[in-house]
């Protein structure tokens, strides 16, 4: 069976697969939010989502939200705590998995969302938000990135969200999901788990700004099922987050 889907839809599906049932999830916006909803609708009906503004939900918002503070994300929430309260639960170790993005990543899974120097000139990015906290304190993190050579660097210009480092107390990056594949970052390694359908190994190598060991027979990321796609398109009907060029699966 074939169906058309975008690489972002595939990333949502991959994100959903990182959530186990009954887990406490520090949800982000955009793709992870859709992934959380998809996981709840499929294999993880009892997962609970925390947002850094203090909101706790066990069902996705009833209508589309652009920010975690949008009123539909409050109505029907389980709880609206403060930021310190949800961060305290995170610091306690009560959050199983958190999602993060970044402008740059290095082989240890360090993420930079603070400042870059393309062509040597400073570009100021917005900063950490809650990302540095999730990176520091969740039991594990799942990273989501556009796979471009300028973003995959031997050394990031600034470590906003710490990856693996000696003496880490807890957690660290477990999985990286990109526009090209899914990677295993546990224990500080950077292993290719799957390549998305149709992505050649060479493209992966050329798109990664540091040396990457790729085994000959890397499995292919399982494409979205029709049910998964149906969920995503009902949750993001305009393709606001998932709508780039659709391709054959």
């Amino acid at each position: 069976m074939t169906s058309m889907y975008t690489s972002r839809e595939l990333m949502v599906v991959a994100a959903a697969r990182e959530i186990r049932d009954r887990e406490i999830v520090f949800v982000g916006m955009r793709l992870p939010l859709l992934g959380f909803g998809l996981a709840k609708a499929t294999h993880a009906p009892h997962a609970v989502g925390l947002f850094e503004n203090g909101v706790i939900r066990d069902r996705p918002a009833e209508s589309f939200i652009y920010t975690m503070g949008d009123p539909p994300n409050i109505a029907g929430a389980v709880a609206c705590l403060g930021l310190i309260e949800v961060m305290s639960l995170l610091q306690q170790g009560r959050v199983d998995v958190g999602f993060l993005g970044g402008a740059e990543i290095d082989p240890e899974g360090n993420l930079n969302t603070t400042r870059t120097y393309p062509d040597g000139r400073l570009v100021r990015l917005p900063g950490s938000g809650g990302a540095g906290d999730i990176a520091s304190l969740a039991q594990r993190t799942v990273l989501i990135m556009e796979h471009e050579p300028r973003r995959f660097r031997e050394h990031v210009a600034y470590i906003t969200s710490p990856g693996h480092y000696p003496g880490r107390r807890r957690g660290g990056p477990a999985t990286l999901i990109t526009t090209l594949g899914v990677f295993d970052l546990r224990g500080g390694r950077f292993g290719v788990k799957t390549l998305h359908p149709g992505v050649p190994v060479d493209t992966l190598r050329l798109s990664t700004g540091f040396a990457l060991e790729v085994e000959a027979d890397v499995p292919t990321t399982p494409p979205p099922s029709p049910a998964e796609l149906a969920y995503i398109r009902q949750a993001d009907p305009q393709g606001f987050w998932t709508g780039d060029t659709r391709k054959a699966g």
């Binding site: 009892h46 709880a79 610091q91 306690q92 170790g93 009560r94």
Partner: protein
Amino acid sequence: MSSAAPKRRTLADAIAENVADGDAIALGLALESGIPFAAVHEIIRQGRTDLTLIGPISDMAFDQLIGAGTVARVVAAWVGNVAGGSGYAFRRAVEDGMPRPIEVVDHSNFSVGLALKAAAMGLPYLPTFTGIGGDIVKDHPGIRSVDDPFGGPSLLAVAALRPDVAIIHVQRADEEGNAHLWGNLGLTVEAAYAARRTVVICEEIVAREVIRSDPNRTLIPGFLVSAVVEEPGGALPASVQGYWHRDFAPFLDYHRTSRTLDGYAAWLSEWVHGVPDRAAYLRKLGDPALARLRVEATRLAAPANFAP
């Protein structure tokens, strides 16, 4: 950490599953209201021993547990009977080792609160200025001096205190333990966050929509909760805002009767071992008393619109 399987329990099962000999139990956290007396009596009936009790002030509940010999250690700011003063069972245990000796770790309300708050925040300690110059903090097992790393005056560090179980009484909760509570809070929220397990006892188990109609009233998210018990009147003779008045007589009666070991034994026999459960306790109180104690008036919170 995970959102667990079905959590609804009878009080007896909730205590049997969540309170073990030797456990550290936090209760009486809202101070004089919402004290889970039904749970206190059930713990005594189930014969728990060597418990550590953790709380701020503890209106009569700690005294009852101590008198029954269930307690090895008390970590609290105040143990007694707010209406009457002294807790005689507490005094006998400390002064005479009767029915058994207990260890007392004195705190102030703020310092025991900070100890729970530190655990709630996932920290080994919280700094404070309270207690400096007094004896509570001297040679205290959970309080040490620390420097301000930014050069200000020294402070005290209060070590985190992580109860094995917190037992709280609230107005309403859903089947998953998401709990609405209002009125006195005291240290209820901090203890539920801090504890390894939380038992929520409520006046009413309500539909999930009721809880989700007012997420700001959900002070305890269900994923922190191990068991949910519907036990109306389970806090009596303590009050529950909007549900039960305080029943003053039992506090004064207990204060009088517990003055002697025999008096305590008589109270224990009549009001704890003499009733199998809270339903029987309420029947023993009788309908006229319950009618008098039940809040009949209505003073509703002003509407708050959550429409998106």
